[in-house]
């Protein structure tokens, strides 16, 4: 099986970023047949990803059980397990195979605890709480069992931490330092298993590092339901592998890298790119589709390196799709627009804003304001105010629809189409925008974002009129417009979007914007001020208003103090795995 393994393809090292292929646009006939006014789509409840292990904290109406953990009596939800109950009293029982979003295997035996009146130690992940149960999580017998089991786990582990991508965020490293901390007593050779085996589009398997916890197998069976992974052989020679004739190619495959407690499964995209402890993590929201998964953006020196999901029980559970993980590629530093451009020349931002104000006020009579499903609520609301001042016609545009499934991916690839439509009021469809621009119906047009699919006719029409584009990166639209204002990307923006459930999702800035890049709402405020109009309000003020309207504490905290938006260094984050 190992001799026929294909060689591991090396990751592309060039500076150019290869975006995943975009789905083909819908035919023009379908778009022109669309209704004249865009109606906000219905808010849909997200299909909840399976999360069999809820928190032990009782909700109102739950039956409860009282038990004693390390001398502390706690009341928990009936039917929960001891491991979850121990979290309520601040005891983090070390474990490998248990995951709150997956079924319980109790295969690693790392979470053994002592339950009084029970002759043997019990795995706390599998032990259901009982009334009057007395549990000891740090008795000498438990500590000894933990240490001994870690020694077993490490028996065939290659300890190649220097070359392992997981080093620094590895559960095995953490538990070894906390509970074992001794040299090996084994002097027979370790069992060798296949290293760097290409098992899928996104994943490389190192079977030697695997500690056989079966989290990834349970994930593939329970979440996407594809079941590509399996255990082969037995005993010492047991190893993780893909089923014959299959490859780990499901749309959620990179989640197995996150849930792997060691570095057995690594993502090709992140492989050897940067060490985990050098990264900073910013909690934010995925901009890949209307689902709005809670994510953490991992970045170093103003460059994003990967996206991992954050737990949000109401939206995405513990998971996210592979497509969403690649959205960080659009934050590519090479494609960023750092300075304003007027008629093909870089100018200071103040000049560009004065030019926009002059051209909008002076010549133009008929103005089109194009709202964007890829911009925040704050930006769309600012544009709505500007459109009211100018008496502009309103349109809403966004990305073309893409792939969808029952779990998390939504066909609507705009993070904020609902927010954009709500902010714009009665807006026209993007198909009409193309037709009317091609028919030279407007003398000026303002695009809130650079994502818009251009035809050649529209491109030439944009060159002839005053076309303003607020864009964070070089896109075909930004190149076609006569004035480009440097806006912040979603990694530099403080704001909010509204997802497919109608929930407010918060965007947190990960780093300060480079060059002249400013928030879209701030740019629009400056344009209005330069035209001699009233102060429309800064981005922060708008975010505060949105936070109060939706009663969102997270966004309110971010607007109140910049300290709340400070990213955490992964080096000091000890709660992963």
């Amino acid at each position: 099986m190992t001799s026929s393994d294909p060689p591991v393809p090396s990751r592309p090292r060039s500076a150019t970023i290869i975006l995943p292929p975009e789905p083909p646009p819908p035919p023009a006939a379908a778009r022109s047949a669309a209704p004249t006014t865009v109606k906000p789509p219905e808010n849909r409840a997200a299909p909840a990803p399976a999360a069999p292990n809820l928190s032990a904290a009782p909700r109102p109406g739950d039956a409860t059980v009282k038990l004693t953990i390390d001398g502390e009596t706690v009341e928990v939800r009936k039917g929960t397990n001891v491991l979850e109950a121990a979290k309520l009293v601040g005891r983090d029982i070390c474990h490998f195979c248990y995951h709150p979003g997956l079924s319980i295997a109790a295969s690693c035996r790392q979470c053994l605890v002592e339950v009084e009146k029970n002759p043997k130690l019990q795995p706390s992940c599998q032990q259901v709480v009982g009334e009057g149960m007395v549990v000891h999580t740090e008795s000498p017998a438990v500590l000894e069992a933990r240490r001994a089991l870690l020694e077993f786990t490490l028996k065939n582990h290659p300890i190649d931490c220097p070359i392992c991508d997981k080093a620094g965020e590895c559960t095995l490293q953490r538990h070894y330092m906390d509970h074992d901390h001794q040299l090996t007593r084994v002097d027979v050779p370790k069992i060798r298993k296949p290293k760097h085996k290409d098992i899928g589009r996104e994943i490389i398997l190192d079977a030697e590092r695997c500690i056989l916890c079966s989290r990834c197998i349970r994930f593939c069976e329970e979440i996407p339901g594809t079941g590509e992974l399996t255990m082969t052989f037995r005993g010492d020679h047991e190893k993780l592998d893909i089923a014959d004739g299959h490859r780990l190619d499901n749309a959620y495959s990179i989640n197995v890298v996150d849930i792997c407690p060691v570095g057995a499964l690594t993502a090709k995209d992140f492989r050897f790119a940067v060490r985990a402890w050098e990264l900073k993590a910013t909690p934010t929201t995925c901009q890949g589709c209307a689902t709005g998964c809670a994510i953490e953006l991992h970045h170093k020196h103003e460059a994003a390196h990967r996206i991992v999901p954050r737990h949000d029980a109401d939206v995405n559970g513990h998971w996210m799709c592979d497509e969403g993980r690649y959205t960080y590629k659009e934050l590519d530093a090479d494609a960023r627009i750092r300075h304003a451009r007027v008629d093909g020349q870089d100018v200071p931002l103040g000049h560009a804003i004065a030019t926009v104000a002059r051209r909008l006020r002076g010549r133009a009579k008929k103005v089109a304001a194009v709202f964007s499903g890829t911009a925040t609520n704050e930006a769309n609301r600012a544009l709505a105010d500007l459109a009211a001042l100018l008496g502009a016609e309103r349109f809403v545009v966004g990305r073309v629809p893409g792939k969808t499934d029952e779990l998390l991916r939504d066909a609507d690839k705009n993070a904020n189409l609902r927010g954009a439509i709500a902010a714009s009021g009665a807006a026209k469809h993007e198909g009409e925008l193309g037709l009317e621009l091609a028919g030279r119906a407007y003398e000026a047009v303002i695009f809130l974002d650079g994502t818009f699919e251009l035809s050649d006719v529209v491109r030439s029409a944009l060159g002839a009129i005053t076309s303003v584009c607020l864009s964070d990166r070089v896109t075909p639209l930004a190149q076609a417009c006569s004035i480009v204002l440097p806006a912040t990307s979603w990694a530099e923006t403080l704001g909010s979007v509204i997802n497919r459930q109608g929930r407010l999702r918060v965007l947190q800035p990960a780093w300060r914007p480079e060059g002249d890049r400013r928030e879209r709402a701030d740019l629009i405020r400056d344009i209005a001020l330069a035209m001699g109009e009233r102060d429309l309000g800064t981005n922060r003020e708008r975010a505060r208003a949105v936070a109060e309207e939706f009663d969102n504490e997270e966004l309110l905290a971010l607007t109140a103090s910049p300290v709340a938006a400070r990213p955490t260094l992964l080096r000091f984050s000890h709660t992963r795995g």
Partner: protein, 193 residues
């Protein structure tokens, strides 16, 4: 509590004002050391390095743990021992080590595509050598970084660092064959087993 005042007399004596006795005292000290270190057998108690004289290698006077300019060690097959774990660049207080990792596509799996040390930024602390788990980086060359005419000449690349290097037979990962003999005492938390 009040602070007491001590009065110091700054009055110079006649002996001080002449200066001559003090000069003679100084000359006497100089002369004593001169004759002791040149005329007596075994050159007195001063270990003078006869730097630059023929047949004298100043490097042999350097202590064994002297930290000189860096070098990178090889494996048996001539490939660099570094596995680009970034321990040295992480621990470096001067942030003068720049490594880009690459996939080596052999059993060693990971290696440095580029390995650059800016010797102008280096503070010669030796922490990189201590942090290295693979015995790849060493500072035992016993040579100082020579002054350069251009700043970029002091930025050493992988080729420069390996040109000073040599083969290393240390066991990868650090544990030698007889590690048990050097094993530390049991962790006090688990005493009594």
């Amino acid at each position: 509590m009040t602070i007491g005042v001590k009065k110091v007399s700054l009055q110079r004596t006649t002996r001080d004002q002449i200066f001559l006795p003090a000069i003679l005292e100084g000359l006497l000290t100089t002369a004593r050391h001169f004759f002791k270190n040149t005329m007596t057998k075994g050159m007195g108690d001063v270990d003078t390095i006869r730097y630059g004289e023929p047949g004298v290698d100043p490097k042999s006077y350097y202590p064994e743990r002297f930290r000189g300019v860096h070098r990178l060690m090889f494996r048996d097959d001539g490939s660099v021992r570094c596995v680009a774990c970034m321990c040295c660049s992480t621990v470096c207080p001067a942030r003068c080590i720049y490594i880009v990792a690459e996939d080596r596509e052999d059993n060693n799996e990971k290696g440095p595509a580029t390995f650059v040390i800016d010797e102008l930024k280096c503070v010669v602390c030796g922490l990189c050598v201590e942090a290295c788990p693979c015995d790849a980086i060493r500072m035992d060359t016993r040579t100082h970084m020579t002054p350069t005419e251009a700043r970029e000449d002091a930025v050493l690349r992988k080729v420069d660092l390996m040109s000073r290097g040599g083969p290393s037979v240390a066991v990868q990962g650090g544990l030698g064959a007889d590690y048990r003999a050097d094993a530390p005492a049991a962790d006090p938390r688990f005493v009594g087993r």
